[in-house]
Symmetry: D2
Subunit: 437 residues, 4 copies
């Protein structure tokens, strides 16, 4: 039996007992419940008190939640005086007692509170939800970042990669999980169950990370198509009836064409880099005949960057002759007009390559998807013309897509060069054409 | 597929790649592997580096391990100067930046190291093993308690009750789990599989806590017998063929007769209080006709205490007349001699009640088992003569056993009075007889 | 590992070996494959030969299949001469040898052929499919019923109730099973996944029988709603958002509102009677507070019967005064017109009660649904006006529905009286009103 | 939920109802229960009546059981007169009706009875048990073979290979299954759990067939050792600590060293031939580097045959000179005496080869193990001196063992030649040495 179910009945039973003794329980504030939970009463019937906090939090409206977060900030922060005293003692003696006392003084009581909330049924879920709210509030209340420091510290520790399980998602997975794929797919929209069934069809794979405390809730998932040769276009990947549907043992390439995070409350607690590499290994093990592992990725920042560069008279990237050509994009149907399309193609592809390779924020690439895969140790392999003619694809990158290639034996070297020196790994072909632009 | 298996192949593959690039890898020291794991290299192929640490640690001998722990103490501790500086800045500004900087300065790099080790296959297992070693070393090297502060802090967070799963253990459980029950049973010795099968027989239950990262490894387990009326003796509990084997729906009482911790490396990270209460709730749910939940527990400290009191001429507990009677215990076979047995019974039972109720360490009872159950909110119900005539039972408590009774509706009240004021809850009968002694 | 997967690889491997030795294998006819399978070659690599039959059958077109069934009829029937000889020997000696010889002579080689086909991967599935084809052919080729005698005999034995597993279907069941519910629902149409999710929502249950050899294929399923009091109308049952959604422990009645068979190839191999009674028992066990178990069922034959009676000038059921009232039904929107509706209600309800109670085919009721539930031992409880205003409901029974009530303690008695003497059990109220018509 | 559990509660509930109506139920005879079960009452509450039969049968003593079997023989056999009539009608008309009528007349009511018993909880188990009893009675009551004709016919159909599941048995399998391996191991005795753990250790495999209706009950299992080169001796196989424990990917040969049937009541319903071939395929799939699949088998009939030949003065196999040598075997410790051992070795090995190849019963080999593996299509590969020095090995075959080799591509050819013409396949080496004797 899963503990959660049991916790439920334990906590329910506990709550009944509490209610009998204290008729005013349901009226108590979230703040009172927290105080009870942290007191030694909490040790005896911890999950009942924790459940009271969970229920009270979930009932709160926006205003009450914000008030609650400020309460956490004001009443559950470490005491500066005490911290300085303990810091001095630590410097003086440097022994176990001083070390423990310093740490106890610095660790905010919020962390213990969060750990105790986690004992309630759905505790972890509530904390992830709570962080989702918190991140929203932080935009206008930046001082709440202090609370997120504690909460995200805890979640990073709990969602440590060693605690995640990788699971394959298939058409015979539980519907309650599958409906979440439809909901969370963030790259190539799914209109419903029929779309989903196609993405789990022949020569298709889907993998997700799960955490034991969020059963039935994928954290992140990746969709994969097994094909022959590097894919250059999205439609045949998301609809297998469009491709020549060869038999699995004739495929040689795994294309990662969509990666979606599912939990807004886990933003910034990165799983993506682990996920891709583990799926590569898993596919290699299961299908040893696969030799290439690559993404087919969007270039979300290209057109925005291009428009900024066009406005910039001194752009180092745009030649004068390009500007006329680019003006053809004003025609709404430019990509359906073969003549225009052929005229803009070399200019757009040249600029897009420059964008991927030269456009930087600090020493790293502007483009967030590029930053992600290059940071993982992949290389830029190839730019593809008209790989995604959906409205979104045209808006972001004039329909272009790029392959990032995962060569496992180079991943570590690429990663180090990228992180330390901003070096961008590319295929020979990409490099050659880039120089010739 | 469980992540561990996959991590294994991922990490193996990573290690192969690393080995090819760096022929000296296998010779590198544990210390070097740790440095690599904490560097940014670790981010690309984290689990490969983590695995190198795990392998190197497991190969180490006692001397190398001790050296390693001192290395952790010296090279991975927070910098006192920096801590003081950050503490002052925090006091001055009290904003997010200062808060984060203070915490970063105080959190020892060991914690990050341990979290990264946890990414390796068997990472959690290795950390539990490492703590087991550490606790051993601490006896002669108390300064290493500083490291245990960090490690136990992390393990407490990871083994948070919200992450544990309660599972029933039955005769159709995997042998690989069952053999651990035989190994870890700490209260009433099992000689092998036949004994185990009896303890999982008719009207018997066994429950254990598991953690998702230690598959197949019980953390703690409790053995339960369903009987009619409060049990007063061990043999019929551990061998159902000895009791009148009534049908399950005629039972009214669940007796918790054995609780064993399994992981030395998790010492002090308490699960027992959760376990008993949850099993009570679970049994109530499954078998609503059960009305009593009680232990039949050893009294491990009684005879040691008694012998100290006997040596103490001024003992407030022992009457002069008792001393003669107690000398009869010098006869090795006293408990088989009905005459002696009857003579010592009232004296021993009287003294044992005093021991349980009056003998204190601080404001809490001397006896560790009493401390545990009373701290959980149970009450002392009844003392039982000759409940355990095994060598161990005679040595610890002259064969006496005690029932601690779990009345869920009183657990919280009892717990609070016990923790705050040292009040010991008892049955009316126990109290009455105690006063009359 | 499930045998089917393995059988697949075994049979594939076997087929490869066979193909190497016999290049003409793929061209061989279904008839040749059957002959091989029955020969002693089949014993060595049985599943390979069986697989050849399965593949060849699935490739066949209608004409080839029909030819194949005639081949089974002509070449695999028992030899009449031999049967007579063995019958005489059996009469003469009546010993084991004669008994075995008689049976061997009478059992058609088709049965052995079918049993061997069953060894192939998907063998059972193929045989069910084959019977589905066969039943279709029988309409125009009644002599093929001889083959169905053998095939259905075998399937009845294999789908013996002792081999079926009852499983609850929930929203977290595999999508591959759920999509079959949408497909096979035969009583109250589901338009897709949203409908299905409602039917598996709060206070709803769904159970199906499965057979180990048809994994993922429900044989029959029943949809249940937990409500307070006997339900009289379909819409709130198939859409829980329409009912007052009380908490589960406030419900007292389980309504079986839809039962659908899934496998056309298993027609006539009845599971429905087992299913309902077992679900009643299962619900009683899980939810002891339920006290009533009833269907809310269509009356598929009522309007057809009524129209026949109307055409019959001498109908013993229709009074002259009724005929005028009934003519109001000519108005397409009669049921939306309150005046008409109220006028026809007493007449239609009276006639429908007579239909259910008096209209017979032989000694059993005309109505197939009545025959099914009364044959299971249920009683007619209540007739409900306007319980199903769907097009189908109006067409069949002018929107009326009937409750059949399962009183487990009366089921056997009712069943016997019904089967032996055609006695129809009813509630007192139904009986009373019936007499007063 | 498994049907069996549910059937239990259904049948229990049914039985309660029956008991209330008919107080004499528990006193009724097995024969009465059978009559009820076959009547139409059985259709309403079938499992309750079936359960009554099961309970009554299990309570019966030997005498009552024998009486019951004679009752089945006398009261449930087909009517010879009717059979002849139907046979004549079938010959005359040859249509569906005549066919069905013939079959109905010939099929004994016992078959329906057995099928209905199968609906009870543990029905299949009871029928297997019943056949176990029946086979015992047949020895002295050969006329009961008639009943076994029906029962084994049914069991063969139900235990059709298509319904079996192959499962790997490992140390983490349920103890309730593992204890049955200890109990049923019939070739190389296991003394208990320690022995079993070794046989499931490194480079060891174990596979069993299960049937869905006998959960937790292996039907047959095979133990496999993965080694390098053909094994010639048992001890290193049953105790992996004795072999050089190479890493799995260095092994090239799977040795099947023990095959045991588990269910006496399924005697003669052969699974062994399927089992070995499927395990070969499964191992090939999982471990593609394995190239040899062979048994290391006992030769149970050799010494018995040899002693008969020695008594036969005209033996065509034993030379005069051999007789003297063979007399050395009179020394109880002959195999420990190197001199004797070397003297008898060539003679015994020569004779044993002749035994395996020439000693026949009909056209097939005398030796039952040879008959089994050669019938499966294996070949005799090699005879091994002193492969099994256990008491049993010495008694059966003077410690010799033989390897039967499974070359999947030859299995079908070998099988056909063996079954049709008694041709025994051997390795070239075996053949060559055989001729040279």
């Amino acid at each position: 039996m899963r503990l959660n179910e049991l916790l439920n009945s334990v906590a329910e039973a506990g709550r009944e007992i509490l209610s009998k003794r204290d008729k005013s329980l349901p009226e108590k504030t979230l703040e009172t419940h927290c105080a009870n939970l942290l007191s030694n009463k909490g040790e005896a019937l911890g999950s009942a008190f924790a459940m009271a906090v969970v229920i009270a939090y979930r009932k709160s409206n926006e205003e009450e939640k914000l008030k609650f977060f400020y309460h956490l900030l004001e009443s559950y922060s470490p005491n500066p005086e005490l911290v300085i005293q303990r810091a001095n003692e630590y410097k003086a003696s440097n022994d176990y007692k001083a070390y423990a006392a310093l740490n106890d003084a610095v660790e905010s009581p919020r962390q213990m509170l969060f750990r105790r909330i986690n004992m309630a049924p759905n505790g972890t879920e509530t904390l992830v939800e709570l962080r989702c709210d918190l991140l929203r509030f932080i935009k206008n209340n930046p001082e709440l970042k202090t609370i997120d420091y504690d909460l995200s510290h805890l979640l990073k520790s709990w969602f440590n990669r060693g605690f995640l399980t990788l699971e394959e998602i298939r058409w015979d997975s539980p519907a309650v999980i599958l409906e979440k794929l439809i909901k969370y797919e963030a790259v190539h929209y799914m209109s419903g169950w029929e779309d989903l069934k196609k993405r789990l069809g022949k020569n298709r794979r889907c993998y997700a990370f799960f955490h034991p405390s969020l059963p039935g809730e994928p954290l992140i998932f990746v969709e994969v198509a097994l094909v022959k040769g590097l894919a250059d276009s999205i439609p045949p990947l998301i609809d297998p009836t469009l491709d020549a549907s060869i038999s699995e043992n004739k495929t040689d390439t795994a294309i990662f064409y969509s990666i979606s995070n599912c939990q807004a409350g886990l933003a910034g607690i990165s799983f993506g880099n682990f996920l891709i590499k583990q799926v590569v290994m898993e596919l290699k093990r299961e299908l040893p005949h696969l030799t290439q592992f690559s993404t087919l990725s969007p270039i979300p920042g290209f057109l925005k960057w291009l428009s900024r560069e066009q406005e910039n008279g001194d752009s180092e990237f745009i030649k004068e002759t390009d500007r006329d050509v680019l003006s053809l994009l004003g025609n709404e149907h430019w990509y359906q007009d073969q003549e225009i399309s052929e005229a803009v193609k070399p200019v757009l592809m040249g600029l897009c390559k420059k964008y991927l390779f030269h456009a930087k924020r600090g020493k790293l690439p502007c483009d967030p998807v590029a930053r992600f895969h290059l940071g993982n140790g992949a290389r830029i392999e190839r730019l593809n013309w008209m790989g995604d003619k959906s409205a979104n694809g045209l808006d972001q990158s004039a329909g272009m897509l790029v392959n990032y290639f995962y060569e496992i034996s180079e991943v570590e070297k690429n990663h180090e060069a990228f992180i330390n020196d901003g070096v961008i790994a590319t295929s020979k072909d990409f490099k050659r054409k880039l120089s010739s632009i």
